[in-house]
């Protein structure tokens, strides 16, 4: 495997009852890697194997350090791995205050002489838990408890943060409340995070790298935006198919309250003043919001019309009303990929084919959150 020093390389196989797992993937040592798939796809098992909480045959190296290698007889137990692990439901020490819970992680890290890369005040402000420090864990809400648990995990100065559906035990409101804090962590900390989720909305907001799982196998692994636009994968076939794009704020129109975000191959306008020049932003475009025309559209209320080139067309079979089109932004199609769902009738009327030059009209661009 190449570039293992800067990567997480994992391979596990084995069976648990009737369920068999056989996976191998690589993920970068930075950003958020999401293990994504339906329940029963093995994502939590993989995470537990990475933590050393569960042992399957395999190999795991993290940033060049071998944590498991059956061939060499290496298996570091969970408590010997420099990890932070966030469980579905946070359990804090009931006899310690929030602050003491946080410091518990830090104290151990200091004892082991770990370099203090993550500071307490930084974590407290990123997670917004300053006002909770004096409280007892019993007095916290589910979302607050989970934020404290994340803080405690991070202050133990782990080399890798593992999160097992940390939002699944929370209700919608608590989820919406906590996600911005996770995004802030993602933006400000350099520690790699492996995040298990079955919720595509969480993945779109947080993940950089995606490991797509199904029934104990890896369907695909790679950058999120590539996998979203891969015609061979179920993400694109799903009715709610969408792509995420990373960009930076290029200009701000204060008179009309619009923000222009430059992405690879073009510029997209989103409503509202969404930050300062140069800020990183993550955008989401659903396949249903994209249509194509052959010439630059004249009178239209749609702000985002960009030249693009069609890269692939799938689902073009008799009896199917719609086809799925992947296009690359820019006249050469080398920019960011977008996906569109259009009728087969329109496709044939405009004689669209792979390589066609088009103008993509994007009815709505959602600002997901601030990207990396």
């Amino acid at each position: 495997m190449n570039g293992e020093a800067g990567a997480i390389a994992a391979a596990f196989s084995g069976s648990l009852g009737t369920f068999s797992l056989d996976v191998a993937f690589e993920a970068p040592m930075r950003g958020v890697t999401a293990l994504f798939g339906p329940s029963g796809s093995g994502k939590t098992t993989i995470l537990r194997c990475m933590a050393g909480l569960h042992k399957l045959a395999g190999r795991l190296s993290v940033g060049g350090e071998i944590w498991q290698d059956d061939a060499a007889g290496i298996f570091r137990k969970a408590h010997q791995r420099p990890i932070g692990y966030v469980f579905q439901e946070a359990s804090l020490f009931p006899h310690l205050s929030v602050r003491k819970n946080l410091l518990y992680g830090a104290r151990r890290a200091a004892k082991q002489g770990a370099e203090e890369l993550i500071r307490e005040d930084e974590i407290v402000s990123l997670l917004g838990i300053g006002h909770l420090l004096g409280r007892a864990p019993l007095a916290l809400s589910g979302g607050e408890r989970q934020r404290v648990a994340v803080g405690r995990a991070l202050l133990s100065q782990p080399r890798l943060l593992l999160m097992d559906e940390p939002l699944s035990a929370l209700d919608r409101m608590a989820k919406d409340e906590i996600l911005p804090y996770f995004e802030a962590l993602h933006r400000h900390l350099s520690i790699p995070i492996v995040y298990v989720s079955h919720d595509i909305a969480e993945v779109e907001r947080l993940a950089d790298t995606l490991v797509l799982l199904e029934r104990g196998r890896v369907l695909a692994a790679g950058p999120l935006f590539e996998l979203e636009a891969d015609p061979g994968l179920p993400l694109l076939r799903a009715p709610e198919a969408a792509v995420t794009l990373e960009g930076r704020i290029a200009s701000i129109d204060e008179a009309y309250a619009l923000t222009a975000v430059s992405v690879a191959g073009g510029m997209l306008v989103v409503p509202g003043i969404q930050g300062r020049l140069g800020d990183a932003r993550r955008l989401r475009i659903t396949a249903a919001d994209v249509s194509f025309s052959l010439s630059p559209p004249g009178d239209t209320t749609i702000l985002n019309c960009l030249p693009a080139r069609i890269l692939s067309i799938t689902g073009q079979t008799d009896g199917e009303p719609q086809v799925t089109v992947v296009a690359g932004l820019g006249a050469d199609g080398a920019g960011a990929r977008i996906v569109a769902r259009i009728t087969r009738k329109s496709l044939e009327a405009l004689a669209l084919a792979q390589g066609s030059q088009v103008f993509a009209q994007i009815k709505s661009v959602a600002l997901l959150a601030s990207g990396a």
């Binding site: 648990l16 933590a51 050393g52 909480l53 137990k77 969970a78 408590h79 010997q80 420099p82 990890i83 932070g84 692990y85 469980f87 359990s91 020490f93 009931p94 006899h95 310690l96 205050s97 602050r99 003491k100 518990y104 992680g105 151990r108 082991q112 004096g134 409280r135 007892a136 019993l138 007095a139 405690r152 995990a153 133990s156 593992l162």
Partner: protein, 356 residues
């Protein structure tokens, strides 16, 4: 942990206490008050009984003990041979069961467990019943109770180790219930087979728990075992707090807790089995008193352990004194503790589902 960190914990948690429930005063004051209460109750219990002894006579008897004066007949006999051993046994057994209960509740992260949870009490009960069935002397019965209690825990733990890939705490608890009911079946069988005039009453009385036949030797034989179980709890009291997380959470924080957990289970079992060996099966003490103590001082084991032990001692001394003075016949302890314990347990179940 060092004493230094304990001090800083204390300083920090004063604010926490007020924020949390406002009923956690300075624990030292509480412990001193409980100690005084226990001492007062012991002196009170010495006076009460079929043969009342005046306070002045107790003072005189104590004085004689130190000055080596001639014994004043019956008073000294009742006090030193019968009443004091019984009081000390109540204190010892109450403290031991309560300490074991506090440890089990912390280990299993479940407020509704008690020394019965691993089948310890029933297992030790079976051992004692076998001893009675074989017409062994008292010491033999105690030894059997103790060995059977340990064997039960060993069996339950072995099942826990065999069943992998399941929630380990749940497996242990279920294994305890199953092994406990097997022991219960064996006890029933022995009761049917036992001599109905000689052995059956003894078995029944023993299974209900009683301190009526306690002698000095019993106290002296149980004391070292109970202390042996107490030592690791005192030495590791700070680390026992860490067990409230569960093994997986703990190991994800870089802690290895398996061995500690088994060590504390063994220690708590040793204390329970020793108590059962001299007092019979006294239920409920190990459930209720640790709970009340936790309500008073919170879940920090450093405070919980002494508070629970003192409260357990006071409680069992009170119940045993009632048992021997309330009616003309001895009321078995198990009956009185169940009368208080069962309603309390139901209340816990219904009213305090918010955790602990």
């Amino acid at each position: 942990m060092t004493t230094g960190s304990m001090d800083s914990d204390d300083a920090d948690e004063t604010g926490l206490a007020t924020a949390r429930m406002g009923r956690r005063g300075a624990p030292l004051t509480l412990i001193a008050a409980l100690t005084l209460l226990l001492a007062a109750m012991m002196i009170g219990a010495m006076q009460l009984g079929r043969y009342p002894i005046a306070l002045a006579d107790i003072g005189g008897a104590m004085l004689r003990l130190f000055t080596g004066g001639a014994a004043a007949g019956q008073i000294d006999t009742v006090l030193w041979q019968i009443r004091l051993p019984r009081i000390l046994a109540a204190v010892l057994v109450g403290a031991a069961l309560s300490a074991a209960g506090a440890a089990y509740q912390g280990l299993f992260r479940n407020p509704l467990v008690s020394p019965d949870i691993l089948g310890v009490s029933t297992g030790a009960g079976l051992g004692a019943v076998i001893g009675i069935f074989l017409s062994l002397p008292v010491l033999g019965i105690q030894l059997f109770a103790f060995l059977a209690g340990l064997a039960t825990v060993a069996l339950v733990s072995a099942i826990g180790l065999l069943v992998r890939d399941r929630e380990p705490i749940l497996v242990l608890v279920l294994a305890g219930v199953v092994v406990g009911s097997l022991a219960g079946a064996a006890i029933s069988l022995l009761k049917i087979l036992a001599d109905p005039y000689e052995q059956l009453p003894a078995i029944t009385f023993w299974l209900l728990g009683s301190l009526s036949s306690i002698r000095n030797g019993d106290v002296l034989s149980a004391l070292p075992m109970i202390l042996l179980g107490l030592v690791p709890m005192i030495l590791l009291r700070w680390r026992i707090n860490l067990l409230s997380l569960g093994d997986e959470e703990a190991s994800a924080l870089g802690l290895e807790t398996h061995r500690l957990r088994y060590l504390i289970i063994a220690a708590a079992t040793l204390m329970t089995a020793s108590a059962v060996a001299i007092a019979g099966v006294v239920g409920w003490v190990g459930l209720i008193l640790p709970h009340l103590a936790r309500m008073l001082v919170g879940p920090n084991f450093e405070r919980l352990l002494p508070t629970a032990m003192l409260m357990g001692a006071c409680y069992l001394l009170l119940v045993d004194t009632l048992a021997r003075t309330m009616a003309s016949i001895e009321i078995p302890l198990g009956i009185l503790t169940a009368l208080v314990g069962a309603p309390f347990f139901l209340w816990l179940l219904v009213a305090r589902r918010d955790g602990w």
